[in-house]
Point group: C2
Chain length 85, copies 2
């Protein structure tokens, strides 16, 4: 069994309003950072997984995203898997 | 003025307990994914910024992280800035 590390980003879909991001965009002005626009806030998830191959690890992480980590109606996800020495 | 896109990860520090991540690690077993361990959950933030140079954009994003996006007592952050065509 090899050990892999996955880095997953789960973001609200573009068509979906992101109220938390909108609030933060507004706060940037008060901080003197008016040149910052279009803040969007999602989740960053790291995890460790044991698998025989990178392909198996990849498909298991995909399953975890689909079934637990992302709400596919409102969110999209992307991830990368790398082997840990 | 050029336009840049920043991708920011804000994660709970290693020494800090991540209860949300612990709960998700537990749920993985119920999903039949017991080979997934050590789930940690943080924030992924994307934003657009206008600046004269990549260096200026970089330092402004750093300022935004320090002053608003990350709680440096409990969280650490990393980010990348890339120019948008």
């Amino acid at each position: 069994m090899k050990k892999f590390q996955a880095e997953i980003d789960v973001m609200p879909k573009k068509e979906i309003l992101d109220p938390q991001g909108k609030a933060v965009t507004g706060s940037m002005k008060n901080l003197g950072l008016a040149e910052i626009h279009n803040v969007r806030i999602g989740k960053h998830i790291t995890l460790e997984i044991e698998a025989d191959s990178a392909e198996t690890a990849h498909s298991k992480v995909d399953l975890a995203c689909k079934n637990l980590l992302a709400n596919l109606i409102m969110e999209s996800y992307s991830f990368s898997v790398s082997e840990v020495a």
